[in-house]
């Protein structure tokens, strides 16, 4: 029997009682009523109907020469996967494990401010920079993490200047970021960071009582939130740009039910975006799960409320972005590639970002380093003082991890309707479920991501023009 049209590969699922959602490998999507879905798969759709034209425009069906449509799909697929073109560009460096905070969900075993046993040596720093520049990427972003890197600012300066020196010869697009709680930054430090174009990333968990509960300073006499607020202003005054400092929030058990207050606090302090982030199950957050964690379903409900609040605020004229939604919307609404180490396919671990510990050990991701603090070295690629770049970044270990992190070929992901928008997190799978592949039916990251994508799809399907315009305004 000759069919009137050709059905191209697509994934599908019930979206609600009346409709199916269909997606394809390049992220195109369409909603079909149950009746239309049946007609479609039984080759009974009218090829002159608007619905068929829609399906054809999304390359889910075609009445044209199939080779032409496949060529178009291949081009779109290459674009979506163009994040793989350059290899690792994000290099996270830990100059020290010293920190003056004692966050309740700390993911590393921080050291006291006076304990110098986990400070990086200049020899290791030099080898790290050498290793970074051996990578092929034309873009290099060196991100200082900790501990709090400002506790060893001399080492931060040493690495910045060593990288700038190397770059005189290598000529890459070089940038820096320092992740700090801001409390130890002085005007001199900030002027240095500005001069060397080192962006500042910080943490803000919400209003004073919440921030101080989640992120108390070790010196109980100091008021973290007050110092934070003062120093945000100082940084912005010196920089002359309110966007020079970005903030990241973490949701602890104490944050639930308080997203509106958290969002209001971000706005009060002059931020124009927030990334509503759930707790990562590493370090203290795993060890003291009962104290700080919560069922993922509660996070999802809070996320939805927070997102609705932000949308309403945008409708009233205040431009404010929710970062996770913006990332997913870019994947849903545009053909462009979006790298996000924690949620891409293959996972970004090692091939998009890597972390260099104070002793020169190289891990595929920050979370891999955190597992190592608890004596698990599965995600360690080697050490810059002992191994070559090729041994670490093109070795069997990284190949094996990446092979197991393509959601095109993971159980539960391969045929998931949200697969083109999602990704894999082998470190989290390993940490929580015992192996890098993981088990989707009980996987919290899967439950969370699917619920949030579904909610965004509901918004898109509702088609409120104001909401859609807001979504587009969030996509850079």
């Amino acid at each position: 029997m000759k069919y009137k049209y050709t059905i191209l590969p697509f994934r599908f699922d019930h979206f609600n009682k009346e409709e199916y959602l269909l997606t394809n490998d390049v992220g195109e999507y369409i909603f079909l009523s149950n009746k239309d879905f049946e007609k479609f798969i039984n080759y009974e759709l009218d090829m002159k109907s608007d619905l068929f034209y829609d399906l054809a425009s999304k390359q889910i069906a075609t009445s044209d020469k199939i080779e032409d449509v496949v060529a178009m799909l291949a081009t779109k697929f290459r674009t979506k996967k163009s994040i793989l073109r350059d290899f690792t560009s994000l290099h996270m460096v830990v100059p020290t494990l010293r920190c003056n905070s004692s966050c309740i969900y700390c993911q590393v075993k921080r050291h006291e401010s006076s304990d110098h046993s986990a400070d990086m040596t200049k020899k290791t720093a030099k080898n790290i920079v050498k290793c970074i520049f051996e990578g092929p990427s034309p873009y290099i972003k060196i991100e200082f993490q900790g501990g709090d890197p400002s506790t060893d600012f001399e080492m931060v300066k040493y690495i910045i200047e060593e990288a700038e020196w190397q770059n005189l010869f290598k000529k890459r697009e070089l940038g820096f970021v320092i992740c700090t709680n801001l409390t130890l930054l002085t005007p001199e430090m900030v002027k240095y960071l500005k001069k060397h174009k080192c962006d500042i990333s910080t943490s803000l968990d919400g209003p004073k009582d919440l921030h101080d509960t989640n992120r108390p300073l070790q010196d109980k006499n100091l008021d973290h939130h007050e110092i934070f607020e003062k120093n945000v202003k100082m940084v912005r005054d010196i920089w002359g740009d309110d966007d020079c400092v970005s903030a990241l929030m973490t949701t602890s058990k104490y944050s639930l039910g308080r997203y509106k207050e958290i969002i209001d606090e971000y706005i009060r302090l002059g931020f124009n975006n927030i990334f509503l982030r759930s707790l990562n199950p590493y370090g203290f957050a795993k060890e003291y799960k009962e104290k700080v964690s919560y069922p993922i379903e509660e996070f999802v409900e809070n996320f939805k409320e927070g997102l609705d609040y932000i949308i309403e605020m945008n409708k009233k004229g205040k431009f404010f972005v929710e970062g996770f939604a913006a990332l997913l919307l870019k994947r849903i609404l545009t053909p462009f590639a979006t790298g996000f180490v924690d949620l891409q396919s293959p996972a970004g671990v090692g091939i998009a970002g890597a972390i260099y510990d104070y002793d020169g050990s190289v891990y595929v991701a920050d979370e891999g380093r955190m597992l190592a603090r608890f004596k698990n070295y599965y995600f360690k690629l080697g050490n810059v003082n002992e191994n070559t770049f090729q041994e670490m970044f093109n070795g069997n270990q990284l190949h094996e991890i990446i092979e197991n992190s393509c959601n095109e070929c993971l159980p539960g992901c391969a045929d998931c309707v949200f697969q083109p928008y999602c990704g894999a997190d082998p470190v989290r799978n390993y940490s929580v479920q015992g192996d890098v592949v993981g088990h989707r039916p009980t996987n919290e990251m899967c439950i969370k991501t699917k619920a949030i994508i579904h909610y965004l799809m509901e918004k898109l399907h509702e088609g409120d023009p104001e909401t859609i315009n807001i979504f587009w305004s969030w996509i850079k």
Binding site: K81, L84, R85, D86, F87, G135, P136, S137, S345, P346, I351, F389, Q390, F393, N394, H399, I402, E403, C406, E408, C409, L410, P411, G412, A414, V437, H439
Partner: protein, 108 residues
């Protein structure tokens, strides 16, 4: 021999038998699942009387005593391993192409 749930059989206090249908589960999936349980239990596979079945024997290895739930968990894990095997057969070639692309910059 007490039959608990088809096809799980309690052989003795510290020993159970599961009958696996090889029309449904591949040898690869079965081996992978057995391997997963070898840290806590003694596992043995043997051909059953029916040529389309394999008997898997579970025996207590140390302080972790084998029980009905152990075998039921094994059944769930067997499904997981079979899905991994099937997905790899269906989509492994796509994964290989993507991984090759991912490492191309460092293979030049």
């Amino acid at each position: 021999m007490k039959e608990l749930k088809i096809p799980i059989f309690e052989l003795s206090n510290n020993s159970f038998k599961l009958v696996v249908d090889t029309n449904i589960y591949s040898k690869e999936a079965l081996n992978a699942t057995c391997y997963k349980y070898t840290d806590k239990y003694f596992i043995y596979q043997k051909s059953a009387d029916n040529p389309n079945e394999i008997d898997v024997i579970f025996e207590t290895k140390s302080e972790v005593v084998v029980n009905e739930d152990t075998v039921k968990s094994f059944c769930n894990d067997l499904i997981d391993q079979q899905v991994r095997f099937d997905v790899n057969n269906r989509f492994g070639h796509i994964r290989d192409l993507i991984v090759e692309e991912a490492f191309k910059p460092v293979n030049k």
